[in-house]
């Protein structure tokens, strides 16, 4: 086999999933939200979920993030204390995890930011929620994070209302990542932004995923975004996962009729 160190397979094969989802179902009355979704997400992996409006991708994301209670199934998260099913966890504990281990980036920054609080306050608030108390440290960390998401430090006392859409989205990302989560849920993070701003945000997200070793689950309808950001892809239709696999395999050699239709309907991805 030559000079290749085959021990890399041992590391890959022995890895424990950060998130393990089994048989997740959510119905809205008689309508199916999402049905029988199962997958494992490993540390450092970015999973894209695509599908048209109403396909259940946002419902799935909400169930995973604990915003919605699924009717059936398990969502096992590998916490520092070992694997825990977040579905049956007490609300207080789930909220604590949502502040520390997880982050949620909303499509509309207004849903994820406090619009009446300064940019620095938005970032600092997350830190205080996990116990930071020293004002100077909090402000220094906030300045550092605004810099990482390319917001000038002289805007730290401005409210998000005074920011452009792209800046608001970057601020939301800073607010979410400042506490060093291990898993980030993103709902259409580049939706509603200019294409030039989207590109900048994509580059930023890729750098952060790499540097922080983050795992991420990204819901989007934009196949070009998942091509550039996601390692793996899940395609949803009518609440069901119709196909999943390596991102470029699903996009370049789609097996399911719906995925073939989806891929062939896009102008050059």
């Amino acid at each position: 086999m030559g000079a290749v160190d085959l021990s890399i397979w041992a590391n890959v094969n022995e890895a424990t999933p950060l998130l393990s989802v089994q048989g997740l179902c959510k119905n809205y009355g008689a309508r199916v939200g999402c049905a029988h979704v199962s997958f494992d997400l490993f540390p450092g992996e970015v999973l894209g979920i695509v599908g048209e409006s109403g396909s259940g991708k946002s419902t799935l994301l909400s169930c995973l993030a604990g915003h919605l209670k699924p009717d059936q199934g398990e969502v096992i998260f590998q916490t520092a204390q070992g694997p825990r099913d977040t579905v049956v966890m007490a609300e207080a504990e789930r909220r604590r995890m949502a502040r520390t281990d997880w982050a949620f980036v909303h499509q509309n920054p207004r849903d994820g930011l406090r619009m009446g609080v300064s940019a620095g306050g938005n970032v600092g608030e997350r830190l205080m929620a996990v116990g930071a108390r020293h004002y100077r440290d909090i402000r220094a960390t906030a300045v550092d994070w605004l810099g990482r998401v390319e917001i000038a430090s002289d805007r730290i006392d401005d409210r998000p209302r005074a920011f452009s859409g792209g800046m608001q989205q970057r601020l939301q990302i800073a607010r979410n990542l400042v506490t060093g989560p291990r898993l980030v849920f993103m709902d259409e993070p580049t939706g509603g932004l200019d294409v030039s701003v989207q590109a900048r945000l994509l580059d930023l997200l890729r750098g952060l995923v790499r540097e922080m070793g983050l795992s991420a689950i990204i819901v989007t309808h934009d196949l070009a975004v998942v091509r550039l950001l996601a390692d793996r892809l899940m395609v949803m239709k009518g609440g069901h996962v119709v196909e999943q696999g390596l991102t470029d395999q699903v996009l370049d050699d789609p097996q399911h009729s719906y995925t073939q239709l989806l891929v062939s309907s896009v102008l050059q991805v």
Binding site: V4, I8, V12, F42, R200, D203, R227, R232, Q249
Partner: protein, 227 residues
């Protein structure tokens, strides 16, 4: 390093009457360390299809594709991701990057993904860009605005940034001038000399004769029409 055994491939077009198109059957091929094997055969004969099955973005219908001990035809996505990060490099014909990212960082990215420190990764990227005659004033710009030949050279620099033990090269010298073609051929020879196994498609016959130890005609893998 690459061992393809009895691989078959067909496409099922669900939205065109579920037509099943067999494109390959009984493909066998091996590439050893330090060896370069060229795929030949007319356009549409399946050279790129075979290469994509090794890369893992096309699924093989049957058979096995061993790359450095991993069967790509059976592997889980995360195993293929690890393979691509550390072992298997691919220089495609097209550069696909996040717009607005500087050329230097586009080239350095495969090394950054391996955890190489930024200054070292950028130094290696700069070395390759200089060898491939991309003017330094362009390094801070995104390659999306570059000419076709420049983009191709950026793609080659990115593909060679990490010293992969196994490489796939899809027309690496197409649309290059004589000087840069020479640089690319030298890069390939250097990769072979350090023991890389290379599978390539070269329409440039002189280039193929120079770097390939053997050629394999993929027409031998065309499915036989049932009698």
């Amino acid at each position: 390093m690459i061992e393809i055994r009895d691989v078959a491939k067909s496409f099922t077009l669900h939205n065109q009457g579920a037509a099943v198109i067999p494109v390959m059957a009984g493909a066998n091929l091996a590439v050893g360390a330090g060896e370069c094997v060229g795929l030949i055969g007319a356009s549409g004969a399946g050279k790129s299809t075979l290469m994509r099955m090794v890369w893992g973005n096309y699924l093989a219908a049957s058979g096995s594709i061993m790359v450095a001990g991993l069967d790509v035809a059976q592997a889980a996505p995360r195993q293929i991701i690890a393979l691509r990060r550390q072992v298997l490099g691919y220089v495609s014909q097209f550069l696909r990057v996040v717009p607005r990212v500087p050329t230097l960082d586009v080239v350095a990215e495969p090394l950054l993904n391996l955890g190489v420190p930024v200054d070292q990764a950028r130094a290696r990227a700069a070395e390759l860009l200089a060898r491939l005659n991309i003017p330094e004033r362009l390094w801070a710009l995104s390659p999306t605005t570059f000419s076709g030949g420049e983009q191709q050279r950026v793609n080659i620099a990115r593909g060679f940034a990490h010293r992969y033990p196994v490489m796939l090269l899809d027309e690496p010298t197409a649309s290059l001038d004589a000087v840069n073609r020479e640089v690319v051929l030298t890069l390939i020879e250097e990769a072979k000399a350090r023991g890389a196994a290379i599978l390539g498609i070269f329409h440039d016959e002189a280039a193929r004769d120079r770097v390939c130890d053997r050629v394999v005609d993929v027409r031998a893998f065309t499915p036989k029409v049932a009698a």
